[in-house]
């Protein structure tokens, strides 16, 4: 019988459809895996309530496990609610490499988004001389920033706690 570690290994292939550089496991979306012979039950936690990527993730989890010969079921669990704290170190590194600034802590995030302090590092040149352009970005989880030194616009993954 497959172990939980095996299943999680298989699920490393499933990426966030909106940010394909990060595995949903590193995003902290997978909450639990229960295995009963061929039957595998995966609990996932939505990042944002209206995130259209959640349906896609469910489909991909099922497809990935079916390919390995399992009979998967996926359940959406709302509580405890997903937080950006569940993004792993590996996930944060993958985000930054992809070009999305990783979330700051709660109070730093608030100050950065309110324009009270320059705390978000430019993903292009590393300067902290950056400016919030919009609290809401291309997807529900991101805000839009621009760098005042190299003028690069970039996404910042908002802190959600």
């Amino acid at each position: 019988m497959a172990t939980k570690a095996d299943i999680l290994k298989y699920l490393e292939e499933v990426k966030d459809p909106e940010i394909p550089a990060i595995a949903i496991e590193d995003l902290g979306v997978i909450r639990d895996v229960q295995i009963n012979d061929k039957k595998v039950h995966v609990q996932i936690s939505p990042t944002y309530s209206g995130c259209p990527a959640m349906d896609m993730m469910e489909v991909e989890i099922k497809a990935t496990l079916q390919e390995k010969g399992f009979e998967p079921t996926v359940e959406l669990v709302l509580y405890p609610a997903w937080t950006t704290d569940w993004i792993t170190e590996k996930g944060r590194a993958a985000l930054e490499k992809y070009g999305v600034a990783a979330p700051l802590g709660e109070s730093a995030d608030k100050r950065a988004l309110l324009g009270e302090a320059q705390l978000v590092k430019c993903i292009n040149c590393g300067s902290k001389n950056t400016q919030m352009v919009s609290q809401f970005g291309s997807t529900a989880c991101k805000a839009l920033f621009k760098c005042n030194d190299c003028y690069e616009p970039f996404d910042y993954f908002k802190c959600l706690k």
């Binding site: 209206g50 609610a81 809401f136």
Partner: protein
């Protein structure tokens, strides 16, 4: 009891759905790219939350209805949203003032619902609260920017506050179902929320140099299914696909 929880879920969901629809009308019509994206993001969050409520309601199975039936196949009098959220996007000031009044109400409501004895309602509230904090931050900032901005933005914001304030009292009216569920520790106590809402609104309006109207008159009816004419137009748009192609799906 399940029927009552079902009714309560629909009422919670209807507020967010109708407001979400109003905001979605601004997609590609926002005054700037950033505000357009923000308003549609907020709309998306609200629709996501609505799905949590309606999926739970469908699961209760009291009316034998699916999530889509609940969202799309009811008549106007069966929608129990407050009149405030169906008011039109007259101008940007109206959009922001409506959002500001609703966000602060929504924030306090969800805070209380995290303590609900109904585990699923509490879970949805925990989840939604995180998102609504961002909404209220957005609308509060715009209230200050518009109210304390130019003479024109101030005048328009004051006009929107004067027009929409009479629709806010209804947010705090308790229906018999709500009163009963509140006794059971499931629904929120809207009277308690009203005081906190009033306090927050007053504080922010002061900063925004906007005067809170002194009038005592208020509109009401939505929670009983008696709506302004605007809802009919919203539903004809919202329900078009399901009515034209019954049981269609993606």
């Amino acid at each position: 009891m399940e029927q009552k929880i079902y009714d309560y879920l629909l009422q919670l969901g209807d507020n967010s759905m109708i407001l979400g629809h109003r905001l979605s009308e601004l997609c590609a019509h926002g005054p700037s790219l950033e505000t357009d994206i923000a308003l549609t993001n907020i709309s998306l969050d609200l629709f996501g939350q609505v799905r949590h409520y309606f999926q739970y309601a469908a699961k209760l199975g009291v009316a034998g209805k699916t999530e889509d039936d609940i969202a799309f196949l009811r008549y106007a009098h069966e929608y129990k949203n407050c009149l405030l959220v169906e008011q039109p996007n007259t101008d940007f000031a109206y959009v922001i003032v409506r959002q500001f009044f609703y966000d602060l109400y929504h924030l306090h409501l969800l805070q209380d619902l995290t303590e609900s004895q109904d585990k699923q309602i509490s879970a949805v509230a925990h989840k939604s609260l995180k998102e609504v904090k961002y909404h209220s931050r957005f609308s509060s900032q715009w209230m200050k920017r518009l109210g304390d901005g130019t003479a024109v933005s101030h005048e328009k914001t004051q006009a929107a506050v004067d027009y929409l304030q009479p629709y806010t009292a209804e947010l705090f009216e308790m229906t018999p179902v709500e009163a009963e569920l509140q006794e059971a520790g499931i629904a929120a106590d809207l009277m308690a929320i009203k005081d906190r809402w009033q306090h927050d609104v007053m504080e922010l309006l002061k900063e925004a140099t906007i005067t809170y109207p002194t009038n005592e008159f208020s509109h009401s009816g939505g929670k009983k299914g008696v709506h302004t004419e605007h809802l009919g137009y919203i539903l004809s748009d919202l329900q078009y696909m399901q009515r034209a192609y019954p049981e269609m799906s993606w």
